[in-house]
Protein backbone atom coordinates (compact mmCIF):
# COMPACT_ATOMS: atom_id res chain seq x y z
CA UNK A 1 0.00 0.00 0.00
CA UNK A 2 2.79 2.43 0.95
CA UNK A 3 4.74 1.33 -2.12
CA UNK A 4 1.77 2.08 -4.38
CA UNK A 5 1.35 5.49 -2.77
CA UNK A 6 5.05 6.26 -3.09
CA UNK A 7 5.01 5.38 -6.79
CA UNK A 8 1.78 7.30 -7.28
CA UNK A 9 3.21 10.48 -5.71
CA UNK A 10 6.34 10.07 -7.82
CA UNK A 11 4.22 9.78 -10.96
CA UNK A 12 2.14 12.76 -9.84
CA UNK A 13 5.13 15.10 -9.70
CA UNK A 14 7.24 13.62 -12.47
CA UNK A 15 5.36 13.01 -15.74
CA UNK A 16 8.38 11.05 -17.03
CA UNK A 17 8.50 8.64 -14.07
CA UNK A 18 7.99 5.01 -14.96
CA UNK A 19 6.08 2.62 -12.71
CA UNK A 20 2.86 0.65 -13.01
CA UNK A 21 0.69 3.65 -13.87
CA UNK A 22 2.96 5.18 -16.50
CA UNK A 23 1.26 6.07 -19.73
CA UNK A 24 -2.31 6.12 -18.39
CA UNK A 25 -4.00 9.42 -19.29
CA UNK A 26 -5.90 9.28 -15.98
CA UNK A 27 -2.72 10.27 -14.16
CA UNK A 28 -2.91 13.64 -15.85
CA UNK A 29 -6.36 14.19 -14.30
CA UNK A 30 -4.97 13.72 -10.78
CA UNK A 31 -1.88 15.80 -11.60
CA UNK A 32 -4.05 18.67 -12.90
CA UNK A 33 -6.50 18.48 -10.01
CA UNK A 34 -3.81 18.55 -7.33
CA UNK A 35 -2.01 21.52 -8.91
CA UNK A 36 -5.25 23.37 -9.75
CA UNK A 37 -6.42 22.95 -6.15
CA UNK A 38 -3.22 24.58 -4.86
CA UNK A 39 -3.19 27.35 -7.48
CA UNK A 40 -6.88 28.16 -7.02
CA UNK A 41 -6.32 28.40 -3.27
CA UNK A 42 -3.37 30.77 -3.68
CA UNK A 43 -5.33 32.87 -6.17
CA UNK A 44 -8.26 33.07 -3.75
CA UNK A 45 -6.02 33.87 -0.79
CA UNK A 46 -3.89 36.50 -2.61
CA UNK A 47 -6.43 38.24 -4.86
CA UNK A 48 -4.64 41.60 -4.82
CA UNK A 49 -1.34 40.10 -5.89
CA UNK A 50 -3.14 38.26 -8.67
CA UNK A 51 -4.92 41.44 -9.75
CA UNK A 52 -1.64 43.38 -9.71
CA UNK A 53 0.33 40.96 -11.91
CA UNK A 54 -2.49 39.25 -13.83
CA UNK A 55 -3.65 35.66 -13.55
CA UNK A 56 -1.13 34.19 -15.99
CA UNK A 57 1.96 35.66 -14.24
CA UNK A 58 0.44 34.83 -10.86
CA UNK A 59 -0.21 31.17 -11.63
CA UNK A 60 3.22 30.70 -13.18
CA UNK A 61 4.85 32.09 -10.02
CA UNK A 62 2.43 30.24 -7.73
CA UNK A 63 3.28 26.95 -9.45
CA UNK A 64 6.93 27.37 -8.42
CA UNK A 65 5.79 28.21 -4.90
CA UNK A 66 3.62 25.06 -4.76
CA UNK A 67 6.64 22.93 -5.71
CA UNK A 68 8.76 24.55 -2.99
CA UNK A 69 6.08 24.86 -0.29
CA UNK A 70 3.25 22.37 -0.88
CA UNK A 71 0.26 22.63 1.48
CA UNK A 72 0.71 20.87 4.82
CA UNK A 73 -2.91 21.01 5.94
CA UNK A 74 -6.04 20.16 3.99
CA UNK A 75 -7.84 23.43 4.79
CA UNK A 76 -6.52 25.32 1.77
CA UNK A 77 -8.07 28.61 2.77
CA UNK A 78 -5.07 28.92 5.08
CA UNK A 79 -2.54 27.92 2.43
CA UNK A 80 0.12 30.45 1.50
CA UNK A 81 1.63 31.68 4.77
CA UNK A 82 5.06 31.45 3.09
CA UNK A 83 3.97 33.07 -0.17
CA UNK A 84 4.93 36.69 0.72
CA UNK A 85 8.45 35.57 1.70
CA UNK A 86 8.63 33.51 -1.50
CA UNK A 87 7.83 36.65 -3.53
CA UNK A 88 10.59 38.52 -1.65
CA UNK A 89 13.09 36.06 -3.06
CA UNK A 90 11.47 35.52 -6.46
CA UNK A 91 13.75 37.15 -9.02
CA UNK A 92 11.06 37.98 -11.63
CA UNK A 93 9.22 39.98 -8.92
CA UNK A 94 12.26 42.19 -8.25
CA UNK A 95 10.97 44.92 -10.55
CA UNK A 96 7.74 45.11 -8.47
CA UNK A 97 9.13 45.79 -4.98
CA UNK A 98 5.65 46.33 -3.53
CA UNK A 99 4.43 42.85 -4.52
CA UNK A 100 5.55 40.95 -1.41
CA UNK A 101 3.99 43.61 0.83
CA UNK A 102 0.71 43.42 -1.13
CA UNK A 103 0.84 39.68 -0.44
CA UNK A 104 1.38 40.45 3.25
CA UNK A 105 -1.70 42.70 3.20
CA UNK A 106 -3.73 39.92 1.53
CA UNK A 107 -2.58 37.49 4.19
CA UNK A 108 -3.50 39.96 6.95
CA UNK A 109 -6.94 40.18 5.38
CA UNK A 110 -7.30 36.40 5.37
CA UNK A 111 -6.30 36.14 9.03
CA UNK A 112 -8.69 38.93 9.97
CA UNK A 113 -11.56 37.31 8.07
CA UNK A 114 -11.23 33.97 9.88
CA UNK A 115 -10.37 35.23 13.38
CA UNK A 116 -12.62 34.53 16.34
CA UNK A 117 -15.46 36.94 17.00
CA UNK A 118 -15.30 39.38 19.88
CA UNK A 119 -16.98 42.61 20.90
CA UNK A 120 -15.31 45.98 20.25
CA UNK A 121 -14.43 48.30 23.11
CA UNK A 122 -17.21 50.87 23.45
CA UNK A 123 -15.84 54.46 23.39
CA UNK A 124 -17.72 55.22 26.62
CA UNK A 125 -15.50 52.79 28.49
CA UNK A 126 -12.47 55.02 28.05
CA UNK A 127 -14.14 58.44 27.93
CA UNK A 128 -15.07 58.50 31.59
CA UNK A 129 -11.69 57.60 33.06
CA UNK A 130 -9.44 60.21 34.67
CA UNK A 131 -5.76 60.36 33.66
CA UNK A 132 -4.22 58.11 36.38
CA UNK A 133 -6.66 55.32 35.63
CA UNK A 134 -6.32 55.84 31.91
CA UNK A 135 -2.55 55.47 32.15
CA UNK A 136 -2.80 52.05 33.81
CA UNK A 137 -5.36 50.75 31.32
CA UNK A 138 -4.36 47.90 29.02
CA UNK A 139 -6.12 47.96 25.68
CA UNK A 140 -6.18 44.60 23.96
CA UNK A 141 -6.41 44.45 20.14
CA UNK A 142 -9.40 42.50 18.78
CA UNK A 143 -8.76 38.93 17.60
CA UNK A 144 -9.43 40.09 14.03
CA UNK A 145 -7.21 43.19 14.20
CA UNK A 146 -4.20 42.96 11.87
CA UNK A 147 -1.88 45.88 11.23
CA UNK A 148 1.46 46.55 9.66
CA UNK A 149 3.82 49.37 8.74
CA UNK A 150 5.00 49.34 5.17
CA UNK A 151 8.04 51.57 4.89
CA UNK A 152 8.81 51.10 1.21
CA UNK A 153 5.55 51.84 -0.59
CA UNK A 154 1.99 53.13 -0.05
CA UNK A 155 0.77 49.57 0.46
CA UNK A 156 -2.42 50.57 2.28
CA UNK A 157 -3.53 52.83 -0.58
CA UNK A 158 -2.49 50.36 -3.29
CA UNK A 159 -4.23 47.51 -1.51
CA UNK A 160 -7.40 49.56 -0.88
CA UNK A 161 -7.57 50.81 -4.50
CA UNK A 162 -7.19 47.30 -5.92
CA UNK A 163 -9.73 45.87 -3.56
CA UNK A 164 -12.31 48.59 -4.26
CA UNK A 165 -11.81 48.20 -8.00
CA UNK A 166 -12.18 44.43 -7.77
CA UNK A 167 -15.41 44.71 -5.84
CA UNK A 168 -16.76 47.27 -8.31
CA UNK A 169 -15.50 45.29 -11.30
CA UNK A 170 -13.65 48.44 -12.42
CA UNK A 171 -10.13 49.45 -13.43
CA UNK A 172 -7.68 50.33 -10.66
CA UNK A 173 -6.60 54.00 -10.86
CA UNK A 174 -3.19 54.65 -9.39
CA UNK A 175 -2.10 57.83 -11.21
CA UNK A 176 -2.60 60.07 -8.16
CA UNK A 177 -1.09 57.72 -5.55
CA UNK A 178 1.56 59.53 -3.50
CA UNK A 179 4.58 57.25 -3.07
CA UNK A 180 5.21 57.23 0.68
CA UNK A 181 5.32 54.87 3.66
CA UNK A 182 1.95 53.85 5.10
CA UNK A 183 0.38 51.73 7.81
CA UNK A 184 -2.61 49.45 7.27
CA UNK A 185 -5.14 48.32 9.86
CA UNK A 186 -7.73 45.61 9.17
CA UNK A 187 -10.56 44.71 11.54
CA UNK A 188 -13.45 42.31 10.97
CA UNK A 189 -16.72 43.37 12.58
CA UNK A 190 -18.39 40.01 12.08
CA UNK A 191 -19.85 40.96 8.69
CA UNK A 192 -16.80 42.09 6.73
CA UNK A 193 -13.19 43.14 7.05
CA UNK A 194 -12.75 46.93 7.15
CA UNK A 195 -9.51 48.68 6.34
CA UNK A 196 -7.88 51.94 7.48
CA UNK A 197 -4.76 53.76 6.50
CA UNK A 198 -2.73 54.54 9.62
CA UNK A 199 0.28 56.73 10.36
CA UNK A 200 3.39 55.47 12.09
CA UNK A 201 2.43 56.47 15.71
CA UNK A 202 -0.84 54.53 15.52
CA UNK A 203 1.01 51.41 14.38
CA UNK A 204 3.53 51.83 17.21
CA UNK A 205 0.62 52.29 19.62
CA UNK A 206 -1.03 49.05 18.46
CA UNK A 207 2.27 47.16 18.64
CA UNK A 208 2.70 48.27 22.27
CA UNK A 209 -0.90 47.31 23.14
CA UNK A 210 -0.41 43.88 21.57
CA UNK A 211 2.77 43.43 23.62
CA UNK A 212 0.62 43.84 26.75
CA UNK A 213 1.66 47.41 27.55
CA UNK A 214 -0.40 49.89 29.52
CA UNK A 215 -1.81 52.96 27.89
CA UNK A 216 1.16 54.81 29.31
CA UNK A 217 3.50 52.42 27.48
CA UNK A 218 1.49 52.64 24.26
CA UNK A 219 1.38 56.42 24.21
CA UNK A 220 5.12 56.52 24.93
CA UNK A 221 5.65 54.20 21.95
CA UNK A 222 3.56 56.47 19.72
CA UNK A 223 5.41 59.59 20.91
CA UNK A 224 8.75 57.87 20.37
CA UNK A 225 8.13 57.70 16.61
CA UNK A 226 6.44 61.13 16.40
CA UNK A 227 6.81 63.50 19.33
CA UNK A 228 4.13 65.79 17.86
CA UNK A 229 1.43 63.17 17.29
CA UNK A 230 -2.09 63.93 18.49
CA UNK A 231 -2.71 61.14 21.00
CA UNK A 232 -6.36 61.97 21.60
CA UNK A 233 -7.18 61.74 17.87
CA UNK A 234 -5.09 58.61 17.52
CA UNK A 235 -7.01 56.82 20.27
CA UNK A 236 -10.36 58.09 19.02
CA UNK A 237 -9.54 56.76 15.56
CA UNK A 238 -8.42 53.34 16.78
CA UNK A 239 -11.47 52.95 19.02
CA UNK A 240 -13.69 54.08 16.16
CA UNK A 241 -12.07 51.41 13.96
CA UNK A 242 -13.04 48.81 16.55
CA UNK A 243 -9.38 47.84 16.95
CA UNK A 244 -9.72 47.03 20.67
CA UNK A 245 -11.63 44.25 22.38
CA UNK A 246 -14.20 44.94 25.07
CA UNK A 247 -13.42 41.92 27.23
CA UNK A 248 -10.72 41.11 29.73
CA UNK A 249 -7.86 39.20 28.15
CA UNK A 250 -7.06 37.27 31.32
CA UNK A 251 -3.40 38.22 31.54
CA UNK A 252 -3.83 41.86 32.48
CA UNK A 253 -3.39 42.90 36.06
CA UNK A 254 -6.43 43.76 38.16
CA UNK A 255 -5.59 47.45 38.13
CA UNK A 256 -4.81 47.58 34.46
CA UNK A 257 -7.31 45.20 32.90
CA UNK A 258 -10.13 46.71 30.99
CA UNK A 259 -12.65 45.05 33.23
CA UNK A 260 -16.29 46.13 33.58
CA UNK A 261 -16.64 49.71 34.77
CA UNK A 262 -17.69 48.72 38.25
CA UNK A 263 -14.40 46.87 38.73
CA UNK A 264 -12.52 49.86 37.38
CA UNK A 265 -14.22 52.02 40.02
CA UNK A 266 -13.20 49.66 42.82
CA UNK A 267 -9.61 49.14 41.79
CA UNK A 268 -8.84 52.75 40.95
Amino acid sequence: MNEFQRLFVQALFDPDAGGPLAGQPGLRVYRNTVMAGCLDALEANFPTVCQFVGSEWFRAAARIHVDQHPPLEPALMRYGRDFPAFIDGFAPAAEMPCLADLARADWMHLESLFASDDEPLPPSRVAGLDPPRLGALRLRPRASARWGWFGAAPIATLWQRHRAARQAGAETHLADVVWRAEGLLLVCDGEAVHDWLLERPAIAFLDACAAGGTLLDSTAAALAVDADCDLASLMRLLIHCGAFAAGDDGHSTSTGALAPESTQEKTA
Partner: protein, 272 residues
Protein backbone atom coordinates in the same frame (compact mmCIF):
# COMPACT_ATOMS: atom_id res chain seq x y z
CA UNK B 1 -36.30 12.11 6.20
CA UNK B 2 -34.21 14.55 4.21
CA UNK B 3 -35.30 14.90 0.62
CA UNK B 4 -33.15 16.58 -2.03
CA UNK B 5 -30.37 18.90 -0.93
CA UNK B 6 -27.89 21.30 -2.48
CA UNK B 7 -24.21 22.10 -2.13
CA UNK B 8 -24.03 25.46 -0.44
CA UNK B 9 -21.51 28.19 -1.24
CA UNK B 10 -21.09 31.41 0.77
CA UNK B 11 -22.41 33.54 -2.10
CA UNK B 12 -25.77 31.78 -1.68
CA UNK B 13 -26.12 32.18 2.10
CA UNK B 14 -28.73 34.94 1.70
CA UNK B 15 -30.79 32.92 -0.79
CA UNK B 16 -30.58 29.81 1.38
CA UNK B 17 -31.79 31.75 4.41
CA UNK B 18 -34.73 33.17 2.47
CA UNK B 19 -35.68 29.83 0.89
CA UNK B 20 -38.76 28.22 2.42
CA UNK B 21 -38.84 25.03 0.33
CA UNK B 22 -39.82 22.19 2.56
CA UNK B 23 -37.35 19.41 3.39
CA UNK B 24 -34.54 21.29 1.62
CA UNK B 25 -31.11 20.71 3.13
CA UNK B 26 -27.59 21.85 2.41
CA UNK B 27 -24.14 20.33 2.40
CA UNK B 28 -20.78 22.10 2.69
CA UNK B 29 -17.17 21.00 2.55
CA UNK B 30 -16.22 20.93 6.21
CA UNK B 31 -12.64 22.13 5.64
CA UNK B 32 -13.88 25.48 4.32
CA UNK B 33 -15.26 26.21 7.78
CA UNK B 34 -12.25 25.24 9.90
CA UNK B 35 -12.00 28.79 11.23
CA UNK B 36 -12.15 30.42 14.64
CA UNK B 37 -14.95 32.79 13.64
CA UNK B 38 -15.88 35.48 11.13
CA UNK B 39 -18.63 36.03 8.57
CA UNK B 40 -18.33 32.76 6.64
CA UNK B 41 -18.88 30.57 9.68
CA UNK B 42 -21.56 32.94 11.03
CA UNK B 43 -23.37 32.71 7.69
CA UNK B 44 -23.40 28.91 7.79
CA UNK B 45 -24.63 28.95 11.38
CA UNK B 46 -27.51 31.25 10.38
CA UNK B 47 -28.45 28.88 7.54
CA UNK B 48 -28.26 26.01 10.01
CA UNK B 49 -30.97 27.68 12.11
CA UNK B 50 -33.33 27.40 9.13
CA UNK B 51 -32.30 24.23 7.30
CA UNK B 52 -30.54 20.93 8.05
CA UNK B 53 -26.84 21.03 7.14
CA UNK B 54 -24.58 18.09 6.29
CA UNK B 55 -20.77 18.21 6.58
CA UNK B 56 -18.75 16.57 3.81
CA UNK B 57 -15.01 16.13 4.27
CA UNK B 58 -12.36 16.00 1.57
CA UNK B 59 -9.20 16.12 3.67
CA UNK B 60 -9.25 13.32 6.24
CA UNK B 61 -7.10 11.10 4.00
CA UNK B 62 -8.59 7.95 5.50
CA UNK B 63 -6.58 5.74 3.14
CA UNK B 64 -3.41 7.70 3.91
CA UNK B 65 -0.08 6.45 5.19
CA UNK B 66 -0.78 8.01 8.59
CA UNK B 67 -3.85 8.12 10.86
CA UNK B 68 -6.12 11.16 10.44
CA UNK B 69 -4.25 14.16 11.89
CA UNK B 70 -5.26 15.06 15.45
CA UNK B 71 -5.44 18.78 14.62
CA UNK B 72 -7.68 18.06 11.65
CA UNK B 73 -10.02 15.94 13.76
CA UNK B 74 -10.11 18.70 16.42
CA UNK B 75 -11.31 21.18 13.77
CA UNK B 76 -13.94 18.65 12.72
CA UNK B 77 -15.12 18.16 16.29
CA UNK B 78 -15.47 21.90 16.84
CA UNK B 79 -17.42 22.35 13.60
CA UNK B 80 -19.72 19.45 14.46
CA UNK B 81 -20.34 21.06 17.86
CA UNK B 82 -21.29 24.34 16.19
CA UNK B 83 -23.32 23.05 13.25
CA UNK B 84 -24.89 19.85 14.62
CA UNK B 85 -24.87 18.34 11.13
CA UNK B 86 -27.51 15.84 10.02
CA UNK B 87 -24.90 13.80 8.15
CA UNK B 88 -21.11 13.54 8.25
CA UNK B 89 -19.25 12.03 5.33
CA UNK B 90 -15.78 11.40 3.87
CA UNK B 91 -14.16 9.43 1.04
CA UNK B 92 -12.50 6.12 0.39
CA UNK B 93 -9.33 7.93 -0.69
CA UNK B 94 -6.10 9.49 0.42
CA UNK B 95 -5.01 13.09 0.05
CA UNK B 96 -1.81 13.38 2.01
CA UNK B 97 1.51 11.60 1.83
CA UNK B 98 4.27 11.96 4.43
CA UNK B 99 2.74 15.14 5.78
CA UNK B 100 2.24 16.89 2.43
CA UNK B 101 -1.34 17.52 1.28
CA UNK B 102 -2.34 16.56 -2.24
CA UNK B 103 -5.73 18.21 -2.65
CA UNK B 104 -7.52 15.46 -4.54
CA UNK B 105 -9.17 12.11 -3.76
CA UNK B 106 -6.44 9.65 -4.70
CA UNK B 107 -7.14 5.99 -5.50
CA UNK B 108 -6.74 2.99 -3.22
CA UNK B 109 -5.47 -0.50 -4.05
CA UNK B 110 -8.19 -2.54 -2.37
CA UNK B 111 -6.17 -5.16 -0.50
CA UNK B 112 -6.75 -6.88 2.87
CA UNK B 113 -3.93 -4.82 4.32
CA UNK B 114 -5.48 -1.57 3.06
CA UNK B 115 -8.88 -2.60 4.38
CA UNK B 116 -7.57 -3.04 7.91
CA UNK B 117 -5.65 0.20 7.86
CA UNK B 118 -8.58 2.21 6.51
CA UNK B 119 -11.00 0.56 8.96
CA UNK B 120 -8.64 1.61 11.77
CA UNK B 121 -8.51 5.19 10.46
CA UNK B 122 -12.30 5.35 10.07
CA UNK B 123 -12.66 4.01 13.61
CA UNK B 124 -10.23 6.63 14.95
CA UNK B 125 -12.08 9.41 13.13
CA UNK B 126 -15.48 8.23 14.32
CA UNK B 127 -14.24 7.99 17.91
CA UNK B 128 -12.81 11.51 17.75
CA UNK B 129 -15.92 12.98 16.13
CA UNK B 130 -18.46 11.03 18.14
CA UNK B 131 -20.31 10.42 14.89
CA UNK B 132 -20.60 7.63 12.34
CA UNK B 133 -19.19 8.56 8.94
CA UNK B 134 -20.78 7.82 5.59
CA UNK B 135 -17.93 6.82 3.26
CA UNK B 136 -18.16 7.80 -0.40
CA UNK B 137 -16.99 5.86 -3.46
CA UNK B 138 -14.54 8.13 -5.30
CA UNK B 139 -14.19 8.66 -9.04
CA UNK B 140 -11.71 6.40 -10.86
CA UNK B 141 -9.44 7.43 -13.68
CA UNK B 142 -6.86 4.65 -13.59
CA UNK B 143 -6.69 0.92 -14.15
CA UNK B 144 -4.85 -0.35 -11.11
CA UNK B 145 -3.52 -3.89 -10.66
CA UNK B 146 -3.62 -5.70 -7.36
CA UNK B 147 -7.18 -5.21 -6.13
CA UNK B 148 -8.33 -8.08 -3.91
CA UNK B 149 -11.90 -6.75 -3.57
CA UNK B 150 -14.44 -5.06 -5.80
CA UNK B 151 -15.10 -1.51 -4.61
CA UNK B 152 -18.53 -2.32 -3.16
CA UNK B 153 -17.27 -5.48 -1.41
CA UNK B 154 -14.45 -3.41 0.04
CA UNK B 155 -16.82 -0.66 1.24
CA UNK B 156 -19.23 -3.25 2.67
CA UNK B 157 -16.43 -4.91 4.62
CA UNK B 158 -15.19 -1.49 5.75
CA UNK B 159 -18.68 -0.73 7.07
CA UNK B 160 -18.84 -4.07 8.84
CA UNK B 161 -15.45 -3.54 10.54
CA UNK B 162 -15.80 0.15 11.44
CA UNK B 163 -19.53 0.71 11.77
CA UNK B 164 -19.51 3.40 9.09
CA UNK B 165 -22.30 3.85 6.56
CA UNK B 166 -21.96 4.50 2.83
CA UNK B 167 -22.49 7.51 0.62
CA UNK B 168 -23.23 6.43 -2.94
CA UNK B 169 -22.03 9.01 -5.44
CA UNK B 170 -23.98 8.03 -8.53
CA UNK B 171 -21.99 10.35 -10.78
CA UNK B 172 -18.75 8.79 -9.55
CA UNK B 173 -20.14 5.34 -10.35
CA UNK B 174 -21.09 6.49 -13.84
CA UNK B 175 -17.82 8.32 -14.56
CA UNK B 176 -15.73 5.44 -13.18
CA UNK B 177 -17.68 2.89 -15.24
CA UNK B 178 -17.03 4.87 -18.42
CA UNK B 179 -13.35 5.44 -17.59
CA UNK B 180 -12.65 1.83 -16.62
CA UNK B 181 -14.97 0.16 -19.12
CA UNK B 182 -17.31 -1.32 -16.49
CA UNK B 183 -21.09 -1.67 -16.42
CA UNK B 184 -22.53 1.18 -14.33
CA UNK B 185 -25.84 -0.62 -13.75
CA UNK B 186 -24.18 -3.67 -12.20
CA UNK B 187 -22.01 -1.42 -10.06
CA UNK B 188 -24.97 0.56 -8.72
CA UNK B 189 -26.95 -2.64 -8.11
CA UNK B 190 -24.24 -3.97 -5.82
CA UNK B 191 -24.48 -1.34 -3.05
CA UNK B 192 -26.22 -2.93 -0.03
CA UNK B 193 -29.38 -0.95 0.72
CA UNK B 194 -28.98 -1.19 4.48
CA UNK B 195 -25.68 0.69 4.44
CA UNK B 196 -26.61 3.64 2.24
CA UNK B 197 -27.03 6.84 4.28
CA UNK B 198 -26.76 9.42 1.52
CA UNK B 199 -26.62 9.76 -2.25
CA UNK B 200 -24.67 12.31 -4.31
CA UNK B 201 -25.50 13.50 -7.82
CA UNK B 202 -23.36 15.83 -9.92
CA UNK B 203 -22.37 16.85 -13.41
CA UNK B 204 -19.21 15.74 -15.19
CA UNK B 205 -17.38 16.81 -18.31
CA UNK B 206 -15.36 15.19 -21.10
CA UNK B 207 -11.57 15.36 -20.90
CA UNK B 208 -10.30 18.29 -23.01
CA UNK B 209 -7.90 15.96 -24.87
CA UNK B 210 -9.64 12.57 -24.97
CA UNK B 211 -13.28 13.67 -24.99
CA UNK B 212 -15.90 11.15 -23.89
CA UNK B 213 -13.33 8.35 -23.51
CA UNK B 214 -12.18 9.98 -20.27
CA UNK B 215 -14.80 11.72 -18.16
CA UNK B 216 -13.84 14.21 -15.44
CA UNK B 217 -15.83 14.48 -12.22
CA UNK B 218 -15.96 18.25 -12.57
CA UNK B 219 -19.15 19.19 -10.66
CA UNK B 220 -19.53 22.13 -13.02
CA UNK B 221 -22.78 21.37 -14.83
CA UNK B 222 -26.30 20.00 -14.22
CA UNK B 223 -26.70 16.25 -13.61
CA UNK B 224 -26.94 14.43 -16.95
CA UNK B 225 -29.78 12.08 -17.91
CA UNK B 226 -27.61 8.94 -17.78
CA UNK B 227 -26.72 9.66 -14.15
CA UNK B 228 -30.34 10.47 -13.31
CA UNK B 229 -31.44 7.14 -14.83
CA UNK B 230 -28.85 5.35 -12.70
CA UNK B 231 -30.14 7.23 -9.67
CA UNK B 232 -33.73 6.18 -10.37
CA UNK B 233 -32.52 2.59 -10.66
CA UNK B 234 -30.82 2.87 -7.26
CA UNK B 235 -33.80 4.49 -5.53
CA UNK B 236 -36.25 1.95 -6.99
CA UNK B 237 -34.19 -0.77 -5.37
CA UNK B 238 -33.19 0.74 -2.02
CA UNK B 239 -35.91 3.35 -1.47
CA UNK B 240 -35.57 7.07 -0.93
CA UNK B 241 -32.35 8.49 0.55
CA UNK B 242 -31.12 12.01 1.30
CA UNK B 243 -29.89 13.02 -2.15
CA UNK B 244 -27.48 15.89 -2.70
CA UNK B 245 -26.86 17.76 -5.93
CA UNK B 246 -23.24 18.83 -5.90
CA UNK B 247 -22.02 21.90 -7.73
CA UNK B 248 -18.52 23.13 -7.02
CA UNK B 249 -17.60 25.06 -10.17
CA UNK B 250 -19.41 27.18 -12.73
CA UNK B 251 -21.89 27.97 -9.99
CA UNK B 252 -25.16 29.37 -11.38
CA UNK B 253 -27.69 31.58 -9.53
CA UNK B 254 -29.33 29.91 -6.54
CA UNK B 255 -32.69 29.85 -8.35
CA UNK B 256 -31.19 27.63 -11.08
CA UNK B 257 -29.81 25.19 -8.52
CA UNK B 258 -33.14 25.12 -6.73
CA UNK B 259 -34.96 24.48 -10.01
CA UNK B 260 -32.70 21.49 -10.72
CA UNK B 261 -33.25 20.28 -7.16
CA UNK B 262 -37.04 20.46 -7.62
CA UNK B 263 -36.89 18.77 -11.01
CA UNK B 264 -34.92 15.85 -9.58
CA UNK B 265 -37.05 15.69 -6.43
CA UNK B 266 -40.20 15.47 -8.57
CA UNK B 267 -38.95 12.49 -10.60
CA UNK B 268 -37.52 10.85 -7.52
CA UNK B 269 -40.70 11.05 -5.52
CA UNK B 270 -42.83 9.41 -8.22
CA UNK B 271 -43.12 5.69 -7.40
CA UNK B 272 -41.70 3.53 -10.14
Amino acid sequence: MLATGLSLKPQHFGDALACTREALWFEVHAENYFVAGGPRLAGLMRVRERHPVSLHGVGMSLAGDQPPAAGHLAHWRELIRRIEPVLVSEHLAWSSWQGVCLPDLLPVVRTKQALQRIADHVGQAQDALGRALAIENPTHYLRIDGHEYSEVDFLTELASRSGCGLLVDVNNVYVSAVNLGLDAGSLIDAFPAALVREVHLAGHSPDPLLGDALLIDSHDSPVCEAVLALHRRLIRRIGSRPTLIERDAGIPPFADLLAECERIAATREVPA
